[in-house]
């Protein structure tokens, strides 16, 4: 079993921002806090400079990483498909690249059932990537269930933010 170490910087967009002006979101508090990095860090060999890295370029759709879901739903809504497909294309063109798709849920209900629900959400992202030719060997689907909420208030304003899958590249 390979160990995939993910780092802290998770560049993503706020809910509802898809298709609008791209803006950086602060480092997601739910991610690993042990490592610190500010854009430039260890990269897989052969990658280009930070400025030219499409995964980090805020003007590139590949810098978008999050898919949001309706309550108790796990289908990838149309508005997120271009972004997911762009990542799939990147994977097919960069066979050494690997991603984890991390599923998340809001806090309501059973923790274990939410692990399963988060998995289903992330798995729906994998399936969209598969259709575009990305190989399962490049994708690991995992779930944080309700354990790593990005926002912690107890109403829909937070819950919708936490019903989410994140695409995280190995080495990030």
């Amino acid at each position: 079993m390979k160990k995939i170490l993910f780092s802290t910087l998770l560049v993503s967009l706020l809910a509802g921002c898809a298709g609008q002006d791209v803006k950086d979101q602060p480092k997601a508090a739910v991610e690993d806090r042990t490592a610190t990095q500010a854009g430039a860090d260890t990269k897989p060999a052969g990658q280009q400079t930070v400025a030219a890295n499409p995964l980090k370029d805020p003007n590139n759709i590949l810098s978008k990483r999050s898919v949001y879901y309706d309550f108790d739903k796990s289908d990838v809504k149309d508005e997120y498909k271009p972004m997911v497909e762009a990542h799939a294309k990147y994977l097919t063109g960069n066979k050494a690249a690997k991603v984890a798709v991390q599923g998340n849920c809001d806090e309501r209900g059973s923790r274990e059932y939410n692990i399963a629900l988060g998995n289903r959400r992330a798995d729906s992202v994998r399936k969209v990537m598969n259709v575009m030719g990305a190989s399962d060997s490049q994708i690991e689907v995992i779930s944080f269930g309700e354990e790593k909420p990005r926002t912690t208030c107890h109403d829909e304003s937070c819950w919708k933010e936490n019903r989410r899958s994140d695409i995280v590249y190995q080495g990030e």
Binding site: M1, G109, E112, Y113, L117, R120, E140, I142
Partner: protein, 427 residues
């Protein structure tokens, strides 16, 4: 309705350097028929750093099945059979009486003598004597409470058992084990990443749990004796929801290595993984029947999460719950005749439910609103679960008839994911 608050545990903070907070137990409600009993302070008890009879009385009272009759003012306090004046105790309303003594022996050990008396029939029901190490005073008090409970109710006492749960304080997660009364909490694992789903091995010596310390859910098994642990399952995807088989040789676990969440069996040493459930939906939260022949679990194969039962080989899955559109987290009762689970009653209201397997009859047991993770005490009389009061995670317990309710909370942090441990063989 009795509302009684027992503040306990100031002392053990000094004894357990890794634990942060005592559990406070609050009892709400009482049994239909309470047995009035007086627990007379034992001779020589006042010389001990901690009492015995106060622990016995608190145990009995917490069960909701006993009413403690005050022994204050009885002169002289009886410690031996010959000193008991039964009519006195009948006047005070006591049907039963516990008396005894504690002697310091020359070898440094303690001798604890105890008698249980029937004040109505004016007869001795039981008598025991223990020679114990001084560190075992509380454990002995729990043993005596178990004996009293068993003799007077006919059911096995669970005062000597332990519970496991997770405490989250800020960014820190701790897997803790404590006595059933909340004393002696010890941290068996601390992590900056979430820990969920602790599950006791049937012999009470090990815990299986799910830790996110490697950035995804992986199942570990940890010895409570040596503190050593090993990875049980770290397959591609998620590894979660461990549940021990009654013989302790296998666990049912949930893996996603073939896509959706499905139930597998795995040997306790991590070998021989074998898929047992086959659905296109989610199958999770397995719980073995006490005879080891079947597994109940949560599945959404019918469109909403419901409780199903299948044979341990995975055949003959049958849906068990039909009321409501969200039924999750099943646990078998120790006698195998019923199961507990969580039912969502309205949008955001989750309650502990109990269903009889033969009749299919279902009962909601709690009036708390955010209930999770119910499990039975090993005598089947109480259920331990997690809930939320004032935005904080606490543990609560409810009797299987719904009448007796307890809340266990810490001074700080969220407490969650409890599981009541087994009866230990050497007791």
């Amino acid at each position: 309705m009795i509302l009684r608050k027992l503040l306990i545990g100031a002392a053990w903070l000094l004894l357990a350097p890794f634990a942060h907070a005592a559990l406070t137990i609050e009892i709400v409600g009482s049994g239909a028929n309470q047995i009035p009993i007086s627990v007379v302070p034992f001779a020589g008890e006042s010389a001990l750093p901690q009492g015995i009879t106060a622990v016995i009385a608190a145990d009995l009272q917490r069960s909701g099945l006993f009413k403690i009759v005050d022994a204050a003012g009885v002169k002289p306090e009886p410690h031996e059979l010959a000193e008991v004046n039964y009519p006195d105790w009948r006047t005070r309303g006591a049907d039963a009486l516990a008396i005894g003594s504690v002697l310091s022996r020359p070898d440094g050990k303690l001798e604890v003598r105890f008698r249980l008396l029937d004040a109505v029939k004016q007869a001795q029901l039981d008598a025991y004597s223990y020679v114990i190490d001084r560190t075992l005073v509380r454990a002995t008090a729990h043993k005596i409470a178990d004996l009293i409970y068993e003799k007077l109710t006919g059911d096995v006492g669970v005062f000597s058992t332990r519970i496991a749960y997770i405490v989250k304080s800020g960014p820190r997660y701790e897997l803790q084990v404590a006595d059933a009364d909340g004393y002696g909490a010890q941290t068996v694992l601390a992590s900056k990443e979430p820990i969920i789903s602790p599950s006791w091995s049937p012999d009470g010596t090990k815990l299986a749990y799910v830790s996110f310390e490697r950035k995804k859910p992986i199942i570990y098994v940890q010895s409570l004796v040596s503190g050593q642990r090993q990875v049980l399952a770290q397959f591609k995807g998620n590894n979660s929801a461990p549940a021990w088989s009654p013989d302790g040789k296998q666990l049912a676990i949930v893996l996603t290595k073939e896509g959706s969440s499905q139930i597998y069996l795995i040997n306790a040493d991590g070998s021989g993984v074998k898929r047992v459930s086959y659905s296109s939906g989610i199958d999770t939260e397995p719980s073995f029947s006490p005879d080891g022949t079947s597994i109940i679990f949560t599945s959404d194969r019918g469109g909403s999460p419901q409780i199903y039962r299948m044979s341990v080989s995975g055949s003959g899955a049958q849906r068990l719950t039909f009321e409501g559109n969200y039924n999750v987290s099943p646990h078998f009762s120790p006698d195998g005749k019923s199961f507990t689970f969580i039912q969502r009653v309205s949008g955001s209201s989750f309650h502990v439910a109990l269903q009889d397997l033969a009749s299919g009859q279902m009962q909601l047991l709690t009036d708390t609103r955010m209930d999770e993770s119910p499990s039975f005490a090993p005598n089947g009389k109480m259920l331990l679960y997690a809930t939320e009061i004032g935005g904080r995670g606490i543990l609560a317990a409810v009797s299987s008839d719904g009448r007796v309710k307890q809340r266990l909370s810490t001074q700080a942090g969220d407490v969650r994911e409890p599981e009541w441990g087994p009866l230990l063989k050497n007791q």
